[in-house]
Amino acid sequence: MTTRNMIPGLAKGMWITLKTLFKRVPTVQYPLEKEIPVPRARGVIALDTEACTVCMLCSRECPDWCIYIEGHKEEQPPSKPGGRPRTRATLDRFDIDYALCMYCGICVEVCPFDALFWSPEFEYSEYGISEMLHDKDRLTDWLATVPDPPALES
């Protein structure tokens, strides 16, 4: 047993804790003050329904298949008089189940029309697991919180 030289190492440790005792505490008191998340933080996915073309790529690429999309084709009046009537896909349902989502960001990445964005918002916890399913409207609401991308290191 190394009771020899008992004092130096122990005293050093006690000096460090004593120093810390008088240091300013870096704690952020969460509900009162908030850290601003970094712009790239993967908090919640926002949906731009205008851009979505119901191509289902996100739903297909999602590793745990937590995106549910339904849509139908709608006849659109021709853009020029006398032209052919166009069909346009309309989004009926776009749900993301955040109880399943693992925040990998693949859906945002594969979206060819930039309809999905990451927002760093994180305060959407719920009491029931079924309420973690965000529907189209709720996902659209997140769009306002999407930050501009950060400046880049060149």
Binding site: L10, K12, V38, P63, E109, A151, E153
Partner: protein, 397 residues
């Protein structure tokens, strides 16, 4: 009065002592819920008082079947899965897999992307080792280093988050580089994901703090005589024994061999940097702790060098839209914070791997436990268990 010769006396006393201590062993279930089993490890220990006769680790409580899952997931999806294997160093788990797939595809990864990978891998190493620095003294009984080390780890995680968007699960590697330009649409909110501005300076500042916390921990833990009394000479693992069990990483290096895959393989451009491989001499708990503490310093110095020399250029090689990996077989191994991590990838040319065998460091490191814990005291059992620094997600996969 009859006289007995001393030898006979000694014999009699020995016999009586051994008869007296002939007690039945108690089976003690340590875990799966226990404060210091790092998750859901269960140890079935036969204890005789404080003495542990034998230990049988029971694993599998956290089996998530990643090898099987990988057979039905596309390559980009698998990177999101594999960084959940060892969650305290998520980024480092992605590297060997992505390198394996890239080598099968014959992709040339741009240098800047390689440097970014290297910086973030070393950050993952620091954060993993800081977890060890916090949890190991706690297992020995000191609660304060926990908070000090976690406070500094937060700086590293913040930096990781500012680049990748995720603190634990970055999912930042792509085949052929790091996170590419996303989307082809007209919106401007998605751009090429280079490092955010100020990252390099912030990292430099954070690395200064890393050296500081190492000094603090040295004073708080390393020099502490009680800590030394608890760890020096405890759980000695000779180098040949460690190698026979497949122990790797800091656990192996603590026993003497300077086996570090960062020096021996070329999965990332480590050959461009100056760094030492800290090794221990005795292979005891204290050496395992010491090696990790030194590795934090080395990693911080590697990051500093990489920041000074990071080249500019593209982040992504040209990759087809639908990723198919040519048929073939490859094994890529990397030096993860916990030890050697390898992916044996077999592709049949499709969008999903035919088979992905994961060699995780913690599983092999854990396999030495029954041998190492035989005839130890219960407090030493915890000290040895903690010194191996495993994560149950990495064990069970």
């Amino acid at each position: 009065m009859q006289t007995l010769d001393p030898a006979a006396m000694a014999h009699i006393s020995e016999v009586s002592v051994s008869v007296e201590l002939q007690t039945s062993d108690m089976t003690l279930n340590i875990g799966p819920q226990h404060p210091s089993t790092h998750g859901v490890l269960r140890l079935v220990a036969k204890v005789d008082g404080e003495r542990v006769r034998s230990v049988e680790p029971v694993i599998g409580y956290m089996h998530r079947g990643y090898e099987k899952l990988a057979e039905v997931r596309t390559y980009p999806q698998i990177t999101a899965l594999v960084n959940r294997i060892d969650w305290v160093s998520g980024f480092a788990n992605e590297i060997p897999f992505i390198v394996a797939a890239e080598r099968l595809m014959g992709l040339e990864v741009p240098e800047r992307a390689q440097y970014i990978r290297l910086i973030l891998t070393e950050m993952a190493r620091i954060s993993s080792h800081l977890i060890f620095m916090s949890s190991y003294p706690l297992e020995i009984g000191a609660a304060t280093p926990l908070m000090h080390a976690l406070r500094e780890r937060e700086r590293v995680l913040d930096l990781l988050e500012s680049v990748t968007g995720g603190r634990f699960h970055p999912n930042f590697n792509r085949l052929g580089g790091v996170k590419p330009a996303a989307g082809a649409g007209a919106q401007t909110k998605k751009v090429v994901q280079d490092l955010p501005q100020g990252f390099l300076q912030d990292t430099k500042a954070a690395m200064v703090k890393m050296f500081e916390i190492c000094d603090d921990l040295e004073g708080l833990v390393t020099g502490n005589e009680i800590f030394q009394a608890r760890t020096v000479g405890i759980g000695v693992m000779p180098a040949d024994r460690a190698a026979a069990f497949g122990v790797s990483g800091p656990n192996l290096r603590a026993s003497g061999p300077d086996f570090d895959l960062r020096k021996h393989t070329d999965y990332l451009p480590y050959d461009k940097f100056e760094f030492e491989i800290p090794i221990g001499r005795n292979g005891d708990c204290f050496d395992r702790y010491q090696v990790r503490l030194e590795e934090i310093r080395q990693s911080a110095s590697i990051i500093n060098q990489a920041i000074d020399t990071i080249p500019s250029g593209p982040l992504q090689a040209k990759v087809p839209k639908i990723i198919k990996v040519p048929a073939g077989e490859i094994y890529v191994r990397a030096e993860n914070p916990k030890g050697e991590m390898g992916y044996h990838l077999i592709s049949d040319g499709g969008r999903v791997p035919y088979r992905l065998k994961i060699r995780s460091a913690s599983f092999s490191n854990l396999s030495v436990l029954p041998w190492l814990l035989e005839d130890q005291l219960v407090p030493d059992l915890i000290a040895i268990l903690g010194s191996l620094d495993f994560v149950l997600g990495d064990v069970d996969r």
